[in-house]
Amino acid sequence: MGQQQGAYFVPTKSSWPIVAAVVMFVTVFGAAHWLNAEPGEASFGKSVITLGFVGILLMFFGWFRSVIRESLAGNYNSQVDRSFRMGMMWFIFSEVMFFGAFFGALFYARMYAVPWLGGEGHGVLTHQFLWSDYAASWGANGGGGPGRVGGSFQTVAPWGLPLLNTLILLTSSVTITIAHHALKAGHRGKILVFLGLTVLLGATFLYFQAHEYIEAYKELNLTLQSGVYGSTFFMLTGFHGMHVTLGTIMLAVIWLRVLKGHFSKDHHFGFEAVAWYWHFVDVVWLGLFMFVYIL
């Protein structure tokens, strides 16, 4: 497994990267085919996506398995560890920028687009000629835009489920930190308990969010189509929810790896990477709670 000479480690050839490229291609090809299909022809694309997703799961499983084996064999020296850390940090930074695009869209819509449509600033003529009866505001009344795209709707009250979810995620940040300290101190039982709690908190968050979505669709008529309000609401919380899902799965995998005794006091990058990811997801949620729900 790889050649290690002097200070450097270079891994051997591997088929996982090209497998990864193939399954990614299959997935997006299926997705594109499905979206582009004429009515009634979507089933082909849907089957291809499913195939692709299964492939991606198997690929992750296989690739990580081989990496874990190499790690357990002691192949990864401190330099490799540093490369992995940098990789994860910069990956999280790229995720921050991805969310940044959607937060940017939210701020722009609230601070510029909607007020301009209501006649503010240089939007005065648009307002007068196209939508002179539109009184700009965010939320239930104005967030659907002057065309009331998606029909009238109500917003999700921040101090119910969203507050609860905030508390859940904050608590989970604490539990994972406790687990981390336990790992450094070498208390396996304590790690398993607190990491397990973190997984459960993540799952509970997702359960409540699903509940909130169903309520929004069924009772509030707040949907993805509810003008720019619905677009930003669901895209931001939806992408965040996808990240929580991924994070929860990763935490569960790490829990299993702790159970199998994969980590040592000073060699546990996998644990830390997932912990960083979890904190990142947490911070994004605080931004969402603030700017999507409260304000």
């Binding site: 490369s83 002057p146 677009s231």
Partner: protein, 538 residues
């Protein structure tokens, strides 16, 4: 195998794998992956170039001659996407892959398997993108910038969006790899401020890539949901705004143009000292100028949007911020010229391309400065003047730098010298034709000819014909390039020395030519006189 830095125990598993599939599809070797990137880029260059030939053929004369208008728009859109994401960016990643480990004394990239994945995503992404040309709805045809609402009305949007997602993932992984390599894999003694300028330029470019590719992903995702899932990001009736797309896109887009030029700056900063036989003038200033340009590139994006009706304050802010970029850019040009000043210069093909770069890129910079003036840009925006501007910075800038780099390092890669005669023929043919091709487009733009239009007023006929002739000529010249490369790889008898160029400095010239499959398996000892830019004075 003369040099002590290259390890000389070459057991079996140290050489290149003999099985073709194993070697090229499962590689973890930075040189093989670099080669794959470069070949891919060359192929994309010819595919994208053939689209350009269609464009210039249609524009040869006024009136509709050869193609349908929709197909013409497909060509302008696909030409740009293929050249930007398929030719220029992969070429720089390929050069970075090959040269960065060699330049900093690392055995390979920091994350070699991810490196292979970054590459192999690309052929699939382009298969997805190019296949749209043959689909019932046609390919996207709203321009590479994909502004809504137009882009929502042209064909196969979903395919293009997913292709862009894939390219973005590839670029981000490539960039992460390059940062980790540079920050973590340098040989002892290769301090940050001793690194070659090319390595610095890539470090900063990689940062730009990680910062803005996800933003592009966000922008095209919003296009996707607006078209297929009924969101209203860019729909005014729903409270959105098409201009929002332009903001997000250009927040990516302007740093993107610097992603395509900063590594070129790095290349020129390697070549000029070699053939002037002098260390680069103002090494630190060069590094700080690159960093300053990268920083400024985040606060100038709206110069692409002066004509959409921005608030006055925004127009003024973005105008001045844009003009500010001329300062660090000017420093770079000044330093290249000063490096040549008093040097004992020779004019091999890489140097010819480098000098052409300095002159012609500067012309592109000047036209950029003209475009940065808000009142002037109201006239120039969306005309051929813009087309002329960005082709000077991208073709005679980025592409010329890539060609210079190819000639400069080809002997190191292949172990053979290319044909200097044919290299020079390629250079002169290209440098003359490219000006015949793009210079008249300035006049067309100033006279008001709009871009992305298949037909035009007869008043523009002469300059268009000249431009088209230049275009075919430039296209044909690149076949010489292809010939020179094929000759150097397979047929050239002339062995390259390790140093290759008399004045060349830097670790990459201490390893044999061709560079063996594995280099620097043990960290090399770095001596000051071997540093690419001489001693670093404070």
């Amino acid at each position: 195998m003369a040099h002590a830095a290259t390890h000389d125990h070459h057991d079996d598993h140290h050489g290149a794998p003999t099985n073709f599939f194993t070697r090229w599809c499962m590689s973890t070797n930075h040189k093989d992956i670099g080669t794959l990137y470069l070949i891919f880029s060359l192929a994309a260059f010819f595919v994208g170039g053939s689209f350009a030939m269609v464009i210039r053929a249609e524009l040869f004369k006024p009136g509709m001659q050869l193609v349908q208008p929709y197909f013409f728009n497909e060509m302008t859109t696909m030409h740009a996407l293929v050249m930007i994401f398929g030719a220029i960016m992969p070429a720089f990643v390929g050069l970075g892959n090959w040269m960065i480990p060699l330049m900093i004394g690392a055995p390979d990239m920091a994350l070699p398997r991810m490196n292979n994945l970054s590459f192999w995503i690309l052929p699939f992404a382009f298969a997805l993108l190019l296949s749209t040309l043959f689909m019932p709805g046609g390919s996207p045809a709203g321009g590479w910038t994909m502004y809504p609402p137009l882009s929502l009305q042209t064909g196969s949007l979903a395919y293009a969006v997913f292709a862009i997602h894939l390219m973005g993932i590839s670029s981000i992984m490539g960039a992460i790899n390059i940062i980790a390599t540079i920050l973590n894999m340098r040989a002892p003694g290769m301090d940050l401020l001793k690194m070659p300028v090319f390595v610095w330029s890539w470090l900063i470019t990689a940062f730009l890539l990680i910062a803005v590719m996800p933003v592009l992903a966000g922008a095209v995702t919003m296009l996707l949901t607006d078209k297929y899932f009924g969101t209203s990001f860019f729909n005014a009736a729903g409270g959105g705004d098409p201009v929002l797309y332009q903001h997000i896109f250009w927040f990516f887009g302007h740093p993107e143009v610097y992603i395509m030029i900063l590594p070129a700056f790095g290349i020129i900063s390697e070549i000029v000292p070699t053939f002037a036989r002098k260390p680069i003038f103002g090494y630190k200033a060069m590094v700080f100028a690159i960093a300053a340009i990268a920083f400024l590139s985040f606060i100038v994006w709206a110069h692409h949007m002066f004509a959409v009706g921005l608030p006055l304050g925004a127009e003024i802010f973005f105008m001045y911020a844009t003009m500010l970029i001329s300062v660090p850019t000017g420093i770079k040009v000044f330093n290249w010229v000063s490096t040549m000043w008093g040097g004992s210069m020779t004019f091999e093909t890489p140097m010819l391309f480098a000098i052409a770069f300095i002159i012609l890129f500067t012309i592109g910079g000047f036209s950029g400065l003209m475009l940065a003036l808000v009142p002037a840009d109201f006239q120039y925006h969306d005309t051929y003047f813009v087309v002329a501007h960005f082709h000077y910075v991208l073709v005679t800038g980025a592409a010329f730098a890539i060609m210079a780099a190819t000639y400069y390092w080809l002997p190191k890669w292949t172990g053979h010298m290319y044909s200097e005669t044919w290299g020079k023929v390629h250079f002169w043919s290209s440098v003359i034709s490219v000006n015949v091709l793009f210079f008249p487009q300035h006049f067309l733009g100033l006279a008001g000819m709009p871009r992305r239009i298949p037909d035009y007023n007869v008043a523009f006929a002469n300059f268009n014909m000249i431009s088209s002739i230049g275009g075919f000529w430039f296209g044909a010249s690149q076949l010489i390039f292809l010939g020179v490369i094929i000759h150097a790889v397979w047929f050239s008898k002339k062995k390259a020395t390790d140093r290759v160029w008399e004045g060349a400095k830097g670790l990459e010239w201490t390893v044999p030519s061709p560079a063996p499959f594995h280099t620097f398996e043990l960290p090399p000892v770095i001596r000051d006189e071997e540093l690419a830019h001489g001693h670093v004075e404070d």
